[in-house]
């Protein structure tokens, strides 16, 4: 296991809801990252964010971690939930709330 893989694993383990994104919660720097932040705020869940723009190692490492080439990436209870499209679909279908309920 590489160091970056381990760092990501520790972040995912430490926070029930963690979003790897471009920018920060208060200043997202990508429309897709912003969309997921807004959804999580609507869901009323507390969540941690990791700014991949501030950490090039995680920015690359996260893609291999979930076998997922794009950012943002949402993890709930240690499990990869999806990127912007999937999170949006799940939110609209009411499935995300169930997923997040387990993390409260």
């Amino acid at each position: 296991m590489s160091d970056v893989h381990q760092r990501i694993q520790e972040l995912v383990d430490a926070h029930p809801v963690v979003l790897f994104m471009k920018g920060t919660k208060s200043f997202p720097q990508c429309g897709f990252s912003n969309a997921v932040v807004q959804i999580l705020k609507k869901e009323g869940v507390s969540f941690e964010t990791v700014n991949v723009l501030a950490d090039p190692e995680i920015r690359e490492g996260i893609k291999a971690f979930a076998n997922w080439p794009t950012i943002p990436q949402l993890y709930v209870n240690g499990k990869f939930v999806g990127g912007c499209d999937i999170v949006t679909e799940m939110h609209n279908a009411g499935e995300l709330a169930k997923e997040l309920e387990a993390a409260k």
Binding site: F32, W68, T70, V81, D85, I86, E89
Partner: protein
């Protein structure tokens, strides 16, 4: 530079029998949207369906394609 036709052809080649609609979201040939209905998606989760698409595009996701909004569904 990748046209919507190029991207559509790549996806149809990787997913024989699929119905694929591609649009260029920004007119800059690097932010795309794809709606894909494919028999290969049967029995797969959303994450797995998107992974199949990303796998088909390989390194293009790191280079020509900056963003790809995806909507996937299994063909009946």
């Amino acid at each position: 530079m990748l046209s919507t036709t190029d991207l559509k052809n790549l996806l149809v080649q990787a997913l024989p029998g699929a119905t694929v609609e591609v649009s260029d979201l920004t007119g800059t040939s690097d932010h795309f949207q794809a709606i894909i209905v494919a028999p290969q998606f049967r029995g797969k989760s959303r994450i797995e369906q998107h992974q199949i698409v990303y796998g088909a595009l390989g390194d293009r996701m790191k280079q020509e394609i900056h963003a790809l909004a995806l909507s996937t569904r299994a063909a009946e």
